[in-house]
Symmetry: C2
Subunit: 264 residues, 2 copies
């Protein structure tokens, strides 16, 4: 069991209740990372489902939870032969923090592809990409230590005052502690990039309002590639789309989140 | 009040309950159209919210309802100054048919754009596009009569056995009964195209499992442009993305649905 597996563990209390413990190691400077929280919630949902994989997850981020013990309440809405529908709530200190709708199904180990588009960007190999500098301990950014990321250089030009002017972020991704990617790692991956609006010249914390992601295939071992973009920044709102490609060149996850532009 | 406004009406019974009547005029040959059902559900959610617009809607399609009286049960999860979060269920004959999570907010009449991408396809004008032939009465496809659509010719090549080989569908869209587009019309619009997989050579009913869409701006009067595509068809699942552009050239809605490939 890796540190990530442990940090996302959900212990069954009864048919609808799971005990979890939110780990301080996934903080983005106070709030916990949304992808990590989704992974915790999905552990409970998948355990409670007759199916094995979370093929579609929508999460509303009602309130940013602090680390510590919490519960996931699951309610089966319908369980069919192909898919099951579950409502799930992450509750801490008696307050709902995340609300989710999850569709589970069982994907085959061998993918049967009728049509696939290709990645819209070709990434330079990891060795030609760059790391972000380690965050200062006082920043409270503990999340960074859990993941290894290598960024496509232009997409972090904003770090030295050279944003590209477009919402974008692209990186190679893997867990810092060696671990083959699985659907829970993908939940972390779809929310692991810096907000794409940084590359459009904006700054400040960009809270996710809701995030939907689809698991399209079980990822092969090795690096994942995260390709992030966005279509519109307006009225204080922006969308962020992330595609996750695995080392076998397959599209394994697609996400879109609606988030608020930071004020900072 | 247009026929569409009437067909989507939600009458408040109490704080959490709305009466609705599902209209047989939105059938796609038996089941009612998912976009129409979302519009009905959103009438109740918006009425119950302190905010005016459904900026994010995720709907799970648990069971296809037949026409007739039904109820929408709404539950406020959190109402903040910027956004409110609501859970909503469409119940008919005591059975949950649609389950949704909706985020409402209030968008300004004048949009303040920081960044916008452009449409990825330039549509020929409506007069150079084509209509679908009227469905036969015995098909039960009553939905088509509610909308006017003009298709980008290659994307309905599948009608005469010439699919493009890619998941795609593009059309100009407006209501048959003159009506300025609003967020409820957009709920219909994001699910109005024929399944994009038809253009990839597949056929048969393609049931939506879940659909998430974001309202990004209040649409200007006039034609809407629907640009539909998809990234992956595999293991019996496909994704369908639709962007809706208004007559002022603005991106007003974005959707992605996960659906099953038809067996027919």
């Amino acid at each position: 069991m890796t540190k990530f597996d442990e940090a996302t563990q959900a212990i069954r209390v009864d048919e609808t209740t799971y005990d979890v413990c939110l780990d301080p190691g996934y903080s983005i400077g106070g709030p916990l990372n949304g992808g990590y929280l989704m992974a915790v919630l999905l552990r409970a949902v998948v355990d409670a489902s007759p199916h094995e994989h979370p093929v579609s997850t929508t999460t509303q981020f009602l309130k940013a939870p602090t680390p510590g013990p919490a519960r996931v309440i699951v309610q089966q809405l319908k369980a069919g032969r192909t898919a099951a529908f579950t409502r799930a709530t992450l509750v801490k200190d008696d307050i709902a923090h995340l609300e989710a709708l999850v569709t589970t199904a069982t994907l085959p180990a061998e993918q049967d592809v009728v049509y696939t588009g290709g990645p819209e960007h070709l990434m330079p190999p990891p060795d030609d990409c760059v790391r972000l500098p380690d965050p200062k301990p006082e920043s409270g950014m503990t999340l960074n230590a859990q993941m290894e990321m290598r960024f496509d250089p232009p997409t972090i030009g904003w770090l030295k005052g050279e944003p590209t002017g477009r919402p974008e972020a692209r990186a190679h991704f893997r867990m810092a502690e060696p671990q083959d990617p699985d659907p829970f790692v993908l939940a972390l991956a779809v929310d692991a990039l810096p907000p794409v609006v940084f590359s459009a010249g904006l700054r400040g914390w960009a809270p996710t309002v809701d995030l939907t992601w689809h698991l399209r295939a079980l990822p092969a071992p090795g690096w994942l590639t995260l390709l992030g973009g966005g279509r519109l920044i307006a009225d204080g709102w922006f969308d962020e789309e992330v595609e996750v490609w695995d080392s076998a060149g397959r599209l394994v996850a697609q996400s879109r989140q609606l988030a608020r532009v930071g004020r900072g």
